[in-house]
């Protein structure tokens, strides 16, 4: 499912003294099966933008096309509901949405809302509990008894249970420890690769962008200021600093090397694997001479 923003504008509380334009003239495309990262300084409009992806907000001006469906300011709420099935939205700290008595009951909440029979819903819940690697002994436990990392998995399974085609992730690793973060990010990577899920990731963590994304969109003050492949976006460290954005650690490191005379012919590398490989080529190449 391809997503296209066409001159999207959004204003909070329009027509009041508190009116605030959060987005203006936003146009870009998220390709089907892509892994798109949306980055930008706090308050740049990222959250407002992604809330358009499943109809939590409707455009004030312009359109959002998601698959076949075109959303404008005139779209009815009923049509927005249809959209919510196709686009799964993992909020920041998604464990805050848990409420059922048991883990499985919480996961089957969405399928039941979308009209699956209780039997089908239970089946889906079990599949998704397995997909996020929740051990079977917690399935019948209260989600509130679990550890923070496990609660987050339950919440994510609850969203995957809608069988979405697009998964929107808002800072999915916030509050997790390094191990937990690594596990959650590789879970999404697996879903992306094995099930072809289109992923839209909103994050401040440029390392995750470098490691996983194949497309980066940079927002600032509600408009798109950068749109391209990670290598293109991260090629100009000064530009990123000007826009209050960090660099992936590898790119920052390679940039220091570049200033000390190293030459990276294909642009600054993004991951430590790439950097180590390129360094090895340079250093060994030298040895051979």
């Amino acid at each position: 499912m391809q997503i296209t923003f066409e001159k999207l504008g959004f204003t909070y509380q329009p027509g009041t003294p508190l009116a605030f334009t959060a987005l203006k003239d936003v146009s870009f495309t998220i390709a089907e099966h892509s892994y798109t990262a949306i980055v930008g300084h706090t308050g740049s409009g990222k959250s407002t933008l992604i809330q358009h992806l499943n109809g939590l907000l409707k455009p004030t001006t312009g359109t959002v096309q998601i698959g076949e469906q075109v959303i404008t300011s005139a779209t009815s709420n009923k049509d927005l509901n249809k959209l919510r099935r196709k686009v799964g939205y993992v909020f920041q700290f998604p464990e805050a949405q848990l409420f059922e008595e048991t883990v499985l009951k919480d996961i089957e909440f969405a399928p039941l809302n979308f009209g699956y029979s209780p039997k089908e819903a239970r089946q889906i819940a079990i599949e998704q509990a397995q997909a996020v690697q929740l051990p079977t002994d917690v399935w019948e436990k209260s989600p509130f008894e679990l550890s923070g990392g496990q609660m987050r998995r339950v919440a994510i399974a609850g969203i995957l249970a809608m069988k979405p085609e697009v998964l929107v992730l808002d800072e999915p690793t916030a509050g997790l420890d390094p191990q937990g973060s690594r596990e959650i990010m590789s879970l999404f990577q697996r879903l992306h690769q094995e099930q072809g899920l289109t992923i839209v990731l909103v994050t401040h963590n440029m390392n995750d962008v470098a490691d996983y994304a194949d497309h980066v969109v940079v927002l600032e003050k509600g408009t798109v200021v950068g749109d391209g492949q990670p290598r293109e976006i991260f090629a100009d460290p000064q530009w990123l600093t000007d826009h209050h954005l960090g660099l992936p650690q590898t790119t920052a490191f390679a940039y220091q090397l570049q200033q000390r005379g190293f030459v990276f012919t294909e642009g600054l590398p993004l991951t430590e694997k790439q950097l180590a490989h390129e360094l090895a080529m340079m250093l060994k190449g030298g040895n051979n001479q």
């Binding site: 939590l56 709420n77 939205y89 805050a96 949405q97 409420f99 969405a110 509130f144």
Partner: protein, 264 residues
């Protein structure tokens, strides 16, 4: 909802804004008491003028007062209609079964309507011109005498000001959880009453859980900062009583005198 409860304070540089919160709070309550003394058109006109003068002195647009009345419109209409059809006494204009319209009924209905509107205007004036924190401080000051009968006034006041502080946070939280559940296919706006009531569960449980977590965090943070209740605490915020406050109190006293004179 936010607007209805608290976010109503509108900053302006007016006579009413500058009055002490204690004076404003006291007079708002006092106004409710004296309006029940009104029993003819002269007395209602008197308090009507007092309200109008107060509103004008606040430099706040009339529209905001209308916003204050609007949520109560049905309640007002209901009460007025009740008075209109079920009062007895005076000349009977119309009767049908238990319903009847009498001259006294019409009079009562008009008075009740005026009473409602004036009370809402005055209390709206209080919240429009006084920041919530000052209202809380004012309440604390007015409750001071209750300490004598062992009411934990300091604790209640602190609770109140913490509650005020957390209103915007909980509003944000509510929006967030609603959005999260919407994304899982919940429709809060449509469906039968029963369905809508049922859909409050996935909203309220997470809200309770997160509020409890917050409360626990806050309790620990407060304890770490040396909070142990009791009355040995000092206060950072202080209220200053000005000459204008005394003058306004005197004005209300004069109005009360006049009111008693004008009553039937």
């Amino acid at each position: 909802m936010n607007k209805l409860l608290l976010g109503r304070y509108i900053h302006a540089d007016s006579f009413v804004h500058k009055l002490d919160a204690r004076a404003k709070l006291f007079l708002s309550f006092y106004f409710i008491v004296i309006i029940f003394l009104c029993n003819n058109w002269q007395t209602y006109t008197l308090l009507g003028i007092l309200t109008l003068v107060s509103v004008v002195c606040s430099k706040i647009k009339l529209k905001f007062f209308w916003d204050g009345i609007r949520p109560l419109v049905w309640l007002i209409i209901f009460t007025v209609v009740l008075q209109l059809f079920f009062s007895s006494g005076g000349h009977v204009y119309w009767q049908w079964g238990i319903f009847r319209i009498t001259s006294l009924g019409i009079e009562n209905a008009i008075y009740i309507f005026c009473r409602f509107v004036l009370i809402v205007c005055m209390s709206t004036l209080l919240t429009l011109t006084t920041p919530p924190l000052q209202i809380a401080d004012g309440m604390e000051a007015l409750m001071k005498p209750l300490k004598k009968v062992k009411v934990p006034v300091d604790e209640i006041a602190l609770m109140l000001s913490i509650a005020l502080r957390f209103v915007p946070t909980l509003m944000d939280e509510t929006t967030k959880i609603m959005n999260a559940q919407r994304s899982r296919g919940v429709n809060f706006e449509e469906g039968s009453l029963w369905h809508r009531a049922k859909m409050l569960v996935p909203l309220l449980i997470p809200l309770f859980v997160s509020s409890f977590n917050r409360a626990e965090d806050l309790a620990i943070a407060m304890e770490a900062r040396g909070y142990r209740g009791g009355s040995h605490r000092t206060k950072y915020r202080q209220q200053v009583w000005h000459r204008n406050d005394t003058l306004v109190m005197m004005l209300f006293a004069v109005v009360t005198g006049l009111l008693i004179y004008l009553r039937k």
